[in-house]
């Protein structure tokens, strides 16, 4: 499926889709979106790239195996979950929030980090599954 049209389009689509996925992740707390959907969109972006340029090239682009995103994301989520215990002595998963919102990103809180963890795990897990299956097919 290596057509010139798709390849050219995907070169532009990949960054745009990734940016879009981050956008979805960040807006999740107020508007439809969130880490799970954002992660899926990001992995679709990579899969599209793999269709256009071949799996090997996408892998090169990623530098590391997507599987490594999973433990990384899990650590972020887990730390966000237990951070109230460490910092303020409140029960696990209590939301901690910074006082002032930051431009572009919005309010920063433990929930955002938690969602970022979910985002990375979803990318890692779905890409691992798809890459593995497409390699063995």
């Amino acid at each position: 499926m290596k057509t010139i049209i798709l390849r050219t389009a995907s070169d532009f689509l990949l960054p745009v889709l990734l940016l879009f996925s981050v956008f979805i992740l960040l807006r999740g707390h107020y508007l439809p979106g969130g880490g799970f959907i954002g992660g899926l969109v990001a992995s679709i972006a990579f899969v599209l790239d793999a269709f256009a340029n071949g799996l090997e090239n996408t892998k090169k682009l990623l530098k590391i195996h997507p599987g490594f995103l999973m433990p990384f994301g899990l650590v972020i989520s887990a730390v966000a979950a237990i951070s109230p215990i460490i910092f303020t002595g409140q029960p696990i998963m209590t939301g901690l929030w910074a006082n002032d919102p930051i431009p572009v990103i919005g309010s920063i809180g433990s929930a955002l980090f938690f969602d970022t963890g979910v985002y990375l795990i979803v990318i890692g897990a779905s890409l691992t599954i798809i890459f593995t299956i497409s390699e063995s097919a």
Binding site: G28, H29, F36, A111, F114, I133, S136
Partner: protein, 768 residues
């Protein structure tokens, strides 16, 4: 006290880490751990003997009322001293016994983990933390029995022991939760005052049965006793420590600890008397037929445990004193007999009593220890064992009813135990030394000093029984009884029936020792009854279970995915259909339905067309693509009904699913063979039926009044508590964040599973 309990665990972990570097050198240094604990607990003796109770509480899981609260009273002090005292000797003994063993560090780790768990168990004042430590003792016992993990028998015994004690642990948990529910607290010391309410509660019998199950399985009472002889596959220090002196007494401890709370009812007393009585007689008789020294000791341990349970069942002050004294006596002599057996095994390489003889000529100090241990075990005056035995007879004589039955059972058991003590402690050293043992020489001190120390203590306490009485027995009894009379332990009680019984025991026991010579013929004879033994019945039952489950699995897990789906949906149809049609009242209120719009109709037509295309398509790829269309149509529906989050997720998931399918199916050939028409019609009917059921179900749900409480709660609090306006996302990352965390873990496991399965297969294919 928390540190004291945790020390064992800390040491266990650290030795696993640093053990690699020290390679078993200076392993005797580990003896310092139990020794320091022994000193620590001994320092409480003056306080406890004044009747003080030391309590320390640390919060653990406050939201569940679980705390690490430790209580040191007479009873727990007695057990703590026993655990650390015998622990010290066993640690020292092990450093010589397993010298140079490859996994010595691991062994010490298990052993000290066990010590920590056992201390936690006897010190816990909270039922739940007590349960946790209870389970930890079972687990460390499993590791220790299976220590020789290269031997099949050892692994099997470990599994049997874990199965039985683990089942007991489960019963304990049930009992603990139920009791906590009835009493309204998990604190044992708070329950003491509620004894009357608890024993008259309707759940009392169930609680008692659950606790019995736990105690009987742990303390190897009939019919759960069979794991203990199997546990003798463990190295001898383990048998000494866990399976005679401490862990198996955990069940006895449990019964003692709950005697003031659950005891003093007819049910409690008679069950304990019967089970304890049957156990002590059954296993005492078994002793006659054994030729392996450890086998003899295992059965005599079970029998002694039976006596303890029997005494708790009698429940009078005399009986409980006898019980406490006998716990000490038994720990002293049985631990030394085990240690002696270990030395004999270590030096001669056999434990077969028919071959061992004359070892006194080469192992003199061991022979002395063995002889004294036999005297204590047989209750020969002036040892501490005599006081123990005397008390047992007196408790039986003064109980009131069935006196002669009780006394007869106790007498027979005691005679056989006397016999067992002499066979294990004296027989190997008597007679002439066989030529094959002439090279045997006395091992290092760390092996033979511990048993000698133990038996000297046993003899010494016979002369000065008030030492044990002031420090341990009197404070212990105060814990067990609400009102106590003064009593004194002494060697000479005057000329009474108990004394005559004692003399009869010694006389017949000695006679038996000379008449009954252990032989393999006898062992083979009892082997014939193995078929109807509880062990065999349980093992056969478990075999039956696995046979049944493999039949079951083969029937349902036949490898055809379509078969699985059909089975699941078919079963669901049956259950749902029954539920719906057994109580069918569907009143449709058409006016409440929103009007069908033109684009909804369009989507539904699109969906149905796609479904028909999927079913009748002759190409895999086309079928998959049209399945995707069905999914996207669903997204549109979600969007129309204002669920953008769902729509977005469904859209991405569907895209990925189609891609996955395409990736897998891309290189497969076209359908070679379509399913048979009969099967297609069958599946068609099934799916139409299922769809109809789901539709009816949804309509019925609409008919129910909606409980908006939860919805409102989330809607109102999403911004207030979690600073989010998107309720769905707030639920995901905040209100039910733990669920999300666990779900992401599931996702990771699935990804790793796919990765592992396929990569593994790729590798094997590469090899070919």
């Amino acid at each position: 006290m928390l540190i004291a309990v945790l020390l064992g665990f800390i040491f266990a972990l650290s030795i696993l880490v640093i053990g690699k570097f020290i390679k078993g050198k200076q392993s005797w240094l580990s003896t310092l751990i139990p020794l320091s604990l022994l000193a620590y607990f001994s320092s409480f003796i003056p306080q406890v003997s004044r009747g003080e109770i030391i309590q320390q509480t640390y919060t653990w899981i406050p939201s569940f009322n679980v705390e690490l609260s430790f209580q040191l009273d007479g009873l727990s002090l007695l057990f703590s001293l026993m655990i650390t005292g015998i622990g010290t000797l066993v640690f020292a003994y092990t450093s010589a016994y397993l010298k140079g063993h490859e996994f010595l560090d691991r062994f010490y780790a298990y052993l000290s983990m066990f010590m920590g768990a056992m201390l936690g168990l006897v010190l816990s004042d909270n039922l739940i933390s007590m349960f946790v430590f209870w389970e930890l003792t079972s687990i460390s016992s499993f590791y220790l029995i299976g220590f020789n993990n290269a031997s099949l028998a050892s692994r099997k015994s470990a599994l049997t022991a874990l199965g039985i004690t683990g089942m007991g642990g489960l019963l304990f948990l049930g009992g603990a939760v139920l009791l906590g529910d009835v009493a309204g607290t998990f604190s044992i010391s708070e329950m003491i005052g509620m004894s009357e309410e608890i024993t008259t509660h309707s759940a009392y019998v169930l609680i008692a049965i659950l606790f019995f199950g736990a105690a009987f399985s742990k303390s190897a009472q009939f019919p759960f006793h069979f794991w203990l002889p199997g546990a003798m596959k463990a190295p001898t220090p383990v048998s000494t420590y866990l399976h005679s002196a401490t862990m198996v007494k955990a069940g006895v401890y449990l019964l003692l600890r709950f005697t003031p709370i659950l005891g003093n009812t007819e049910f409690w007393n008679s069950t304990l008397i019967i089970v304890g009585g049957v156990t002590m007689l059954y296993s005492a008789i078994h002793i006659i037929f054994r030729t392996d020294l450890k086998g003899i000791l295992a059965y005599s341990t079970i029998s002694a445990l039976g006596i303890l349970v029997f005494l708790i069942g009698l429940g009078t002050q005399e009986a409980l004193i006898a019980c406490l004294v006998f716990i000490i006596v038994h720990a002293l002599y049985k631990a030394s007999l085990f240690l002696i057996t270990g030395i004999i095994d270590h030096e001669t390489g056999t434990r077969d009593i028919t071959q061992l003889a004359g070892l006194r000529k080469v192992l003199m100090p061991v022979a002395v220890a063995g002889f004294l241990a036999a005297l204590i075990s047989g209750g020969v005056p002036p040892t501490f064992g005599f006081i123990g035995k005397d008390l047992i007879y007196e408790a039986g004589l003064n109980w009131g009813s069935f006196t002669w039955l009780l006394i007869g059972a106790a007498l027979l058991t005691k005679i056989l135990l006397y016999y067992a003590g002499f066979v294990a402690g004296v027989k190997p050293f008597m007679g002439s030394l066989p030529a094959s043992f002439e090279n045997v020489h006395l091992p290092e001190k760390r092996l033979w000093v511990p048993p000698l120390l133990l038996v000297s203590l046993g003899v010494l306490l016979g002369f000065v029984p008030h030492l044990a009485e002031d420090a341990l027995i009197a404070p212990g009894i105060e814990v067990l009884m609400t009102s106590t009379e003064t009593f004194h332990l002494k060697l000479w009680h005057g000329f009474n029936t108990a004394l005559i019984l004692s003399l009869v025991t010694i006389g017949i026991g000695t006679l038996l020792y000379f008449v009954l010579i252990p032989s393999h013929k006898k062992e083979n004879f009892i082997g014939k009854f193995e078929v109807i033994s509880p062990k065999n019945i349980v093992l056969k039952t478990t075999e039956g279970f696995s046979a049944f489950s493999s039949l079951w699995t083969n029937f349902f897990q036949n490898g055809f995915l379509r078969h699985y789906v059909a089975t699941i949906i078919g079963f669901l149809c049956l259950v749902l259909g029954y539920l719906i049609f057994s109580n069918f009242n569907l009143r449709l209120d058409y006016s409440s339905f929103s009007k069908l719009t033109i684009y909804e109709v369009a989507i539904i037509v699109m969906m149905i067309t796609a479904i028909f295309f999927t079913v009748f398509s002759k190409s895999r790829l086309a079928a998959v693509a049209s399945m995707g269309i069905v999914g996207f149509a669903f997204c549109l529906l979600f969007l129309f009904y204002s669920a953008p989050d769902l729509a977005m997720t469904q859209f991405s998931v569907d895209t990925l699913t189609v891609i996955l399918f395409v990736l897998v199916l891309y290189r497969l050939p076209k359908y070679l063979r379509l399913s048979k028409n009969v099967l297609r019609i069958e599946h068609g009917i099934l799916s139409v039926f299922f769809g109809a059921l789901m539709t009816i179900l949804v309509l019925k749900v609409l008919q129910e009044p909606v409980n908006a409480e939860i919805t409102n709660y989330y809607a109102q609090n999403a911004y207030l508590l979690a600073k989010g306006k998107n309720v769905v996302n707030v639920i995901l990352v905040d209100f039910r964040g733990i669920d999300t965390l666990i779900e992401t873990c599931v996702l990771i496991v699935a990804a790793l599973g796919v990765f592992g399965l396929l990569k593994l297969r790729l590798k094997t294919r590469d090899k070919k």
